[in-house]
């Protein structure tokens, strides 16, 4: 029995601890967010946030997650109440087929959690591991920039600093 905390919920799954986290999320927990893209840690379609860091869930054995909290796309918001970054992707219409987008959002979320106001170069470098085949890069970039501006503005208004966005969105 493996215990996981996914999107703030504790859950127990009965799988071989060698099973990649991706299959546990999709097949055991019926979450759609993380996608199978390569199974090799090369494309980022399966990106989730584990203990605050963006990771490829397709190559993380579930047994190694231990107590670290896992956040998937589901944890950022819902279609009725999208999170800041999700809303920015809608506002920028930052998708074509959309298959890579869940991973893109999760990798970007990990960046904004650490640094709500990254530079253009920081965004590019941070997003480098994730592949998009439709060529939506420019819109994805704009969506991240838009979310960053929203977060910076909100924090300025609240006089707060650096509360992780994925926590704040819950």
């Amino acid at each position: 029995m493996t215990t996981l905390t996914v999107n703030g919920n504790k859950c127990e799954v009965e799988v071989d601890p060698e099973t990649p986290l991706l299959y546990v999320l999709r097949d055991e927990l019926a979450l759609n967010g993380a996608k199978f893209g390569c199974g090799l840690g090369q494309c980022g379609a399966c990106t989730v946030i584990i203990g605050g860091a963006a990771m490829n869930s397709c190559v993380i054995p579930v047994g190694t997650v231990k107590g670290r909290p896992v956040v998937t796309l589901e944890g950022l918001g819902s279609s009725g109440r999208p999170g800041v970054l999700q809303q920015a992707f809608i506002d920028e219409q930052a998708a074509q087929c959309g298959y890579c987008i869940a991973g893109m959002i999760m990798r970007a979320q990990a960046l904004l959690d650490q640094n709500p106001a990254p530079s253009d170069a920081e965004i590019r470098t941070h997003m480098e591991p994730n592949l998009c085949r439709c060529g939506t890069h420019v819109r994805i970039f704009r969506a991240i920039r838009r979310a960053s501006e929203t977060l910076t503005r909100e924090r300025g208004a609240r006089g707060m600093s650096a509360a992780p966005a994925s926590e704040a969105d819950k």
């Binding site: 799988v15 071989d16 099973t19 990649p20 299959y23 999709r26 097949d27 055991e28 019926a30 979450l31 759609n32 967010g33 996608k35 199978f36 893209g37 390569c38 199974g39 090799l40 090369q42 494309c43 379609a45 998937t72 796309l73 589901e74 950022l76 918001g77 819902s78 279609s79 999208p82 999700q86 992707f89 809608i90 219409q93 998708a95 074509q96 087929c97 959309g98 298959y99 890579c100 987008i101 869940a102 959002i105 965004i123 590019r124 470098t125 997003m127 480098e128 994730n130 592949l131 998009c132 085949r133 439709c134 060529g135 939506t136 890069h137 420019v138 819109r139 970039f141």
Partner: protein, 733 residues
């Protein structure tokens, strides 16, 4: 309505049972005689399915359902079709349910390919909706005793000048829409558009960014099993030995399926299927044959193959003597679709009825092929399209549908979900053929091209679903079906010869296609087919000619172009880029290109700036400014998104991509062995200007940018370095 929603009982009941307008697809005899003259073609796909209620149905509550035979591929077609229907029915887009390609529910519109969806389906739905509006108004006129001219459709009702209104649901009684489409209703005047031409947000994006069940990959049917296939290590490998017993005993494994060289594992949980697949692959030994051409001599191989010559433009090809003659050869390596999500499908055999959920581009052709493969009559097979990862042409989608069908046939009653692994997608998808284009032209004394002799050579660009043998799994069975002989696609659209003829005015023009029937690597349709290479070649060569003529590349093009729409996009792109005031910088260059896709669809011109690192040879597309005229623009943001995406994808093809292989195996099996463009190479600026032509036919958008950006990059590299690159992928070192 998505296919996923269709699974819920209430939806199913609605579609199959309730509603006065859910009627037989056959026309009553009195309707068989239409007002249409026999020689008059109905608009768009109404020609393929001329029954009005094949396209639009309205139930007694006034709920509107629109049907299309086209598929959402990430190009935003759902949203654009809803906009068209909403405009002509005078309702809010939110009030329309759209059903996409489903052999049991929608018209047969063949493939969603060739940038045809707006011309085919958009045009059909537009005319059908306008006719439906006209019928609703006519009915209301009778019921209210008011002349038609004093009535208008508004928000789901017909409203009279005195304020009386009758809802669509009341008016549609007695099968009002069960009539032949006539294509004659008045279309909404562009001056009164409410929805067409607006930047409506795409209906499919919210679930895709909030983890809704958006893809066929996300389908979870009760009792569903997971399957993985084991593919041979190379195209013609034969299975020698395999003991399946240990795999059959692995945890969760329900079946090991073996049929000749076809192998699969079916398990309760997905990762159990993956583990079973790995064990099965490790246990199998294969006999392999070296059937592939020598990889470093692929163009010599292609040039030496017997070919069938197809004349595209039949000039003499004789060159006038005495003037400047230029010639050049351009080449493109094999390239792949490389979808981010490997192909996937779900199938279920229940009571002798096979249902396949697929991200195919053509559910009707796929149904025919699968029916033949599993030996069921076509009416016992239903194919339902569900969104998948972007395909960019004929990838593994249909084959995965066939995998799911074969395995579901083996386990009646249980839905089976199959997803390919990355290495299977890379190694087994049909690629875009290697190509060679040769061109020779004469520049006359006035700096005008006087003659032009062009030939392009490639393998086929179309091996899509036809008979069972077009599906990869069929080749591997104990009783295999061979792929049908490759063939060239017909003109005017063409395959390898798509866009082989330049749009420029050239007095003596000869253009030919040399179709190579051989197919050592599996190939088929990759976004824009031959147009990518032909436009790359023509537009690179135009710059070479312009340089020889000591002319500005844009001015040189305009010298040879009369079509005002072509000139307009060129001038717009040049102005927006700032071509005339361009400030030259060290290691930077600018390039221009233009094409009208297929010489009959969208016009696109673009200017690009590239940055070159002379030490490493690395090239980055820095800026791209495009102008596109795709006729009536239904959703300018959707058009911009498609063109932006086309620019980046084609930049990736052009600068990076080449399928690698040895004499036996494809060795491009992952993203390290087939690298594509990444974020740090993303251009700083990509702008698209839509030159709208309200009231004119839709021309399609999806493939228009592929060729032009390739040439613009090559031209920019030449401008920056003086080096002319003619082989794709373009490499400075």
């Amino acid at each position: 309505m998505s296919a996923l929603e269709r699974l819920t009982p209430s939806r199913r009941t609605f579609l199959l049972g309730g509603g006065a307008l859910i009627v037989s697809f056959s026309l009553p005899p009195r309707l068989a005689v239409t007002q249409q003259r026999a020689d008059e073609k109905l608009p768009g796909s109404l020609q393929r399915d001329p029954k009005l209620d094949s396209w639009i149905r309205i139930d007694e509550r006034g709920a509107i359902t629109v049907f299309t035979g086209k598929c959402e591929l990430g190009q935003g077609i759902k949203t654009a079709l809803i906009q068209v229907a909403a405009e002509e029915l005078a309702v809010a887009p939110q009030s329309i349910h759209l059903v996409t390609a489903d052999t049991a529910l929608t018209p047969n519109e063949g493939y969603t390919a060739g940038s045809h969806s707006m011309q085919d389906s958009g045009t059909a739905i537009r005319h059908a909706a306008a006719q439906a509006r006209s019928l609703l108004i006519a009915t209301a006129a009778m019921q209210l005793g008011v002349p038609r001219e004093r009535l208008k459709a508004q928000d789901g009702a017909v409203v009279a000048h005195d304020g009386r209104r009758l809802g669509f649901g009341v008016l549609v009684k007695e099968k009002l829409l069960h009539v032949a489409a006539d294509g004659r209703a008045n279309l909404t005047d562009p001056a009164h558009y409410r929805v067409i031409g607006t930047r409506a947000q795409r209906v499919d994006i919210p679930p895709k960014v909030t983890a809704g069940p958006a893809f066929v990959h996300d389908l979870r049917l009760p009792g569903m099993l997971h399957a993985r296939v084991v593919r041979p290590p190379s195209y013609y490998a034969r299975l020698l030995r395999l003991d399946t017993t240990p795999i059959a005993n692995m945890p969760g494994v329900r079946a090991v399926h073996r049929d000749g060289n076809y192998l699969a594992v079916i398990a309760e949980r997905e990762y159990q299927a993956v583990a079973g697949m790995r064990a099965l692959a490790a246990a199998a030994s294969w006999h392999e044959t070296a059937t592939l051409p020598q990889p470093d001599r692929i163009f010599e191989w292609l040039a030496s193959q017997p070919a069938e010559r197809v004349s595209v433009v039949g000039g003499s090809g004789d060159l006038a003597g005495g003037a400047k003659v230029l010639e050049a050869t351009y080449r493109r390596a094999y390239q792949m679709h490389g979808s981010i999500g490997p192909s996937c499908a779900v199938a279920r055999l229940e009571n002798g009825q096979l249902t396949v959920w697929t991200h195919s581009q053509g559910v009707f052709p796929l149904r025919a092929a699968i029916a033949q493969l599993v030996q069921l009559p076509p009416e016992r097979v239903r194919c339902i399209q569900v969104d998948g990862s972007g395909c960019y042409g004929h990838n593994g989608a249909d084959d995965a549908g066939a995998d799911a069908a074969l395995l579901a046939m083996a386990l009646p009653g249980r839905p089976v979900r199959v997803q390919w692994m990355r290495e299977q997608e890379h190694a087994w998808e049909p690629y875009g053929s290697a190509m060679i284009a040769k061109v020779r032209a004469t520049l006359g004394t006035e700096g005008r091209i006087t003659d032009w002799d062009y030939s392009v050579r490639s393998c086929t660009h179309a091996t899509r679903a036809g008979p069972a043998g077009s599906l990869l799994p069929a080749w591997l069975l104990a009783h295999p079906s061979a792929p049908p002989p490759p063939r060239p696609l017909p003109l005017p659209e063409g395959g390898g010869h798509r866009n082989a003829a330049p749009l420029y005015s050239i007095p003596n023009l000869r253009v030919a296609y040399e179709f190579v029937p051989a197919m050592p690597l599996r190939v088929s349709a990759l976004r824009s087919l031959g147009a990518y290479v032909n436009v790359f070649s023509i537009e690179s060569f135009m710059d070479e000619l312009a340089q020889t003529a000591k002319a500005d590349p844009i001015e040189f093009r305009l010298r040879h172009l009369e079509d005002p729409r072509a000139r307009a996009v060129i001038q717009t792109a040049a102005e927006r880029f700032g071509w005339s005031g361009y400030q030259r910088r060290q290691d930077h260059g600018r390039g221009f290109a233009f094409a009208r896709y297929k010489n009959l669809a969208a016009y696109l011109a673009l200017a690009a700036e590239a940055e070159v690192d002379r030490k490493s040879g690395h090239v980055r597309l820095k800026r791209a400014i495009a102008a596109v005229d795709c006729g009536e623009a239904v959703n300018p943001d959707g058009i911009e998104n498609q063109i932006q995406g086309g620019i980046l994808q084609s930049a990736s093809w052009t600068l990076h991509e080449r399928v690698v292989f040895d004499r036996t195996r494809i060795t491009s099996r992952d993203w390290n062995s087939y690298p594509i463009l990444r974020f740090t190479e993303m251009p700083d600026e990509v702008q698209v200007y839509v030159v709208n032509q309200p009231g004119t036919p839709f021309l399609g958008t999806g493939e228009a940018a592929q060729g032009p950006i390739a040439a613009a990059i090559a031209n920019a590299i030449a401008d920056a370095t003086g080096i002319r690159l003619r082989d794709i992928p373009l490499k400075l070192t």
